[in-house]
Symmetry: none
Subunit: 250 residues, 2 copies
DNA sequence: TCGAATTTGTGCGTATGTATC
DNA sequence: GGATACATACGCACAAATTCG
């Protein structure tokens, strides 16, 4: 029976959502069962089911077969400071909270030469098929995986130089800017494009998530005098982290 | 009848998905109707419905009541440029935020006085319960909703000034920086924290999505001499847009 | 250890409302 | 107006997982 405007299942979902966000139903508590919802709200089994499905799609609750539907923990995502976030120490209130994630954890990487494909070639301003060095990283923070990264550098730039392999040599692991400077390439600009999508099964396996979890994807490209010198895809679990930028206003 | 392992609706959804990604069902074509699916796959109405729902939740197709279910175009997400640099005097925030996109946007807004709650109060550096002006925006581009925004300004700052209401007066709709300058508050910094999560049903209803679609959430805070003067939550559908930052290095 | 009760997840059939063609 | 198709809703059935006495 439509006795208002919005569908019954959205009305029920809305009421339950309110109880969750208001803290009336804190994390780890069980939602009323489908049967309880049905009688409490005077709706049918289908409506109770659809309402639960809405909340599950929103990531607020999680159904456990045979047990119940439980409110999920939603930790406040920690900040990952991106390029440009420079907390000028002292006079500013940009408190670098202890909650902030430092990127100074541990990481593993593996590099290999390959050919640039369409999108990567375009981002690097080179021809598809040109040789690039591809390096894959897994960053960990306290043992917990926090970030995946795949970076590409044109071999036309770094080939036959000491910094060809990002993680080898005297400047291994020093970062793109320092490494490029060693071969007289002065990095002066960076673009970061932040998007989001459901994580791929492969990514979530590495990041310790479950299918359906959302990831942030940062497409980063470093430039030297207008020329792209490195580009990377950074994949970050969105339930645990956010990326932070700090910019001047003129 | 389960004559395999995975649920029937997932089997049907999987088959239809394959046809879509393989190009057998290109964008703008109509899926078989529920009745057709029912008979073609030998399943019930419910299964056909659930299968369509899966594809809709994945954003691959879009149901149009009375017409059919259509394969959606999956455009490369467009850039929304976020930068602390104001392009020119008189430009609205919307123009700036649209950057790469077309310049013809419309928006609606509504303001009301309210009390700052926990998280907002903390972001504004004020006490919970302090009065703030809350303004909600719906930004559209070509009629299509592209962005939701809720902003908060401390009334201790703008109260009893001509710019108390963001969309009223001679500087209505001019953006935070210009309005603040009119009352001698010089905005010089901004932080943006980008996160992502499944959209809420209400948000997606406004943005034209379906429960389960991913949204980007930008928490933006403007500062004047280290003091927060405005903070906002910007909600953007992640399947259509990315946010872009362009920063100098060092 | 066993078994009954509960709960989710899946599936079926049907009915009605409403938007589109 | 009529036909088609999606959207919502009701009621029921059963399997699998879990819980608990």
């Amino acid at each position: 029976m439509t006795f208002g405007e919005q569908p019954a299942y959205l009305r029920v979902a809305g009421d339950l959502r309110k109880k969750i966000v208001d803290g009336l139903l804190p994390p780890h508590t069980r939602l009323p069962s489908q049967a309880k919802i049905r009688e409490e709200y005077g709706v049918s089994d289908t409506v109770a089911l659809e309402a639960r499905k809405v909340l599950m799609a929103e990531g607020l609750v999680e159904g456990r077969s045979g047990s119940g539907t439980y409110v999920r923990e939603r930790p406040v995502p920690r900040r990952i400071a991106r390029s440009g976030f420079r907390p000028e120490r002292g006079a500013t209130p940009f408190r670098q909270e202890q909650a902030d994630a430092s990127v100074h954890g541990t990481w593993e990487s593996s590099s290999e030469q390959t050919e640039a494909r369409g999108a990567v070639a375009e981002r690097l301003g080179i021809e598809p098929g040109d040789r690039v060095m591809r390096t894959k990283y897994v960053f960990r923070e306290g043992g917990e995986p926090m970030m995946l990264s795949t970076s590409w550098e044109p071999l036309a730039l770094t080939g036959r130089t000491p910094v060809m392999l990002p993680e080898e040599g005297p400047l291994g692991g020093m970062g793109v800017v320092e490494r490029m400077r060693a071969i007289d390439v002065i990095v002066d600009n960076v673009t970061e494009e932040v998007g989001a999508r459901p994580g791929l099964a492969e990514e979530l396996a590495l990041l310790g998530g479950v299918p359906g979890h959302v990831v942030l994807v940062v497409q980063r490209t470093y430039f030297a005098s207008g020329r792209p010198v490195e580009t990377a895809d950074v994949v970050i679990p969105a339930d645990r982290y956010r990326v932070a930028y700090h910019l001047p206003v003129k």
